[in-house]
């Protein structure tokens, strides 16, 4: 079961080490109104360790949120997957800085990282900076980052079915965050996350 950390409420560990065969599923969530500077380093220190790291930040107003993540593959045969999604509106500023480090001997590493953002206003500032630092040669790594707006065709499709604009926007945001929100197993919390989209 994925461990969920509510940023601004739960203390997010600064550094985690995963030993041989260990598995960690983790979700970081920042609800509207939370400003913070998060720094997290996960070291994959034993073979066949696996990290699934998800993040979600909803920053519709004046929030200032920075997330620094370093995932270090110090030994071979480990897998890390990262998926961070952000909805950024109003005059808030967010930064995602994600580094994947693969040591020289960490062969057969698999490391993936994605950060996707929905920018709701022109005044909002979204920064995303994925970085790869790879010293091994037998690796499978990928990263992707996007900053986009609500899709107009999708919105029109919903409105043509009678769903009013504000509700259509909300469904679009549900759609956008669903892949991360689905990792939150606690139903009450998941509902709380979806409900907070009405503030976005």
């Amino acid at each position: 079961m994925a461990k969920v950390y509510l940023i601004g409420k739960d203390a997010v560990p600064g550094r985690i080490s995963l030993g041989k065969g260990e598995l960690l599923d983790m979700v970081l969530v920042a609800l509207p109104g939370v400003s913070a500077d998060i720094g997290l380093e996960v070291d994959l220190d034993g073979e066949n360790a696996e990290l699934n790291l998800y993040g979600l930040y909803l920053c519709p107003n004046e929030e200032r949120l920075n997330i620094n993540v370093k995932v270090a593959h110090n030994v071979g045969r480990c897998t890390s997957r990262q998926l961070f999604k952000g909805i950024v509106g109003g005059r808030s500023r967010t930064g995602f800085y994600g580094l994947i480090y693969v040591a020289k001997d960490a062969q057969q590493t698999k490391a993936y990282q994605e950060n996707h953002n929905l920018q709701l206003s022109e005044e909002a500032k979204v920064e995303t900076r994925p970085q790869l630092e790879i010293y091994a040669d037998d690796v499978e790594c990928s990263h992707g980052a996007t900053v986009g707006k609500l899709d107009e065709q999708e919105q029109f499709y919903m409105r043509s079915r009678g769903i009013p604009e504000d509700k259509a926007r909300e469904l679009q945001m549900i759609s956008f965050i669903s892949s991360v929100a689905a990792q939150v197993e606690d139903e009450t919390l998941r509902e709380k996350i979806y409900d907070s989209l009405s503030e976005c």
Binding site: E154, M158, I174, S175
Partner: protein, 250 residues
């Protein structure tokens, strides 16, 4: 003769600064099915988009009246509430939103606009089941994400499913028949034929004649280069089949 449901007069519309519709006139009475045929790029989808209020299409001249109301001043959702429905030529995928939640939002929004309370869950489920059976979709369909991973035929059947759920007064089917096998085509045809009633009407946009064998139109229009160049009865379908669109003009 029955009352005119949709009246389009001198409609001009542009997209990205380019004029596509160059003066369309069309009147549809309640109880009628009209076919709009024409070659690729004629402006058929543009006409569908303008009628349903797609924001990136600009009407530069003309008027459209729907059930006595000025359609062009209404938002897309208001047009839907008023009984207009478009089966999209290219249905949109909405990951993370189930068909159930999508339809619930659509149905309850319309009820809210009409000052009615939300549909009871049991009633909603019953309606879903009935309409899913109608388009021959299995139970799991309700849980699937809207159009995600659907085959071409499934997407079109989903459009017909939504049409049946929303029970529109005027349905516009934009190339709902393209890429369908005969079985799916029959489902689409049945969807339209079931909707046929003295109060309702449909526009079938197509550039094939196949669907029109199953749904026989009362009136056929040929749209070319943004204008309706010919209007006639169902015999026009055969003429088009034999001679193509090239020779047809006003």
């Amino acid at each position: 003769m029955s009352e005119v449901l949709l009246e389009i007069k001198g409609l001009h519309a542009e997209v990205e600064g380019k004029e596509i519709l160059k003066g369309v006139d069309l009147a549809i009475r309640r109880g009628e099915v009209h076919a709009v045929m024409g070659p690729n790029g004629a402006g058929k989808s543009t006409l569908s988009a303008v009628l349903t209020g797609r924001p990136d299409y600009t009407v530069t001249a003309g008027s459209v009246t729907f059930a006595g109301r000025d359609l062009l001043t209404m938002s897309p959702e208001e047009r839907s509430w008023a009984g207009l429905f478009l089966s999209f030529q290219y249905p949109i995928e909405i990951p993370g939103v189930s068909i159930t939640n999508f339809m619930k939002a659509a149905i309850n929004a319309r009820r809210k606009a009409a000052g009615q309370e939300e549909m009871k869950p049991a009633e909603f489920l019953k309606l879903m089941k009935e309409k899913m059976a109608f388009v021959q979709m299995k139970g799991e369909f309700a849980k699937r994400e809207v159009n995600v991973g659907f085959s071409g035929g499934e997407k079109k059947r989903n459009e017909i499913f939504q049409m049946a759920m929303l029970d529109p007064t005027l349905a516009i089917l934009d190339e709902t028949d393209s890429g369908l096998d005969v079985d799916a085509l029959k489902i689409v045809a049945q969807g339209v034929n079931d909707l046929r009633s003295p109060e309702k009407a449909a526009i079938i946009v197509t550039h094939y004649q196949k669907l029109l064998e199953y749904v026989v139109p009362d009136v056929v229009h040929v749209l070319k280069e943004g204008r309706i160049v010919r209007t006639g009865g169902r015999e026009l379908v055969d003429i088009i089949e034999k001679e193509g669109f090239e020779k047809i003009d006003g």
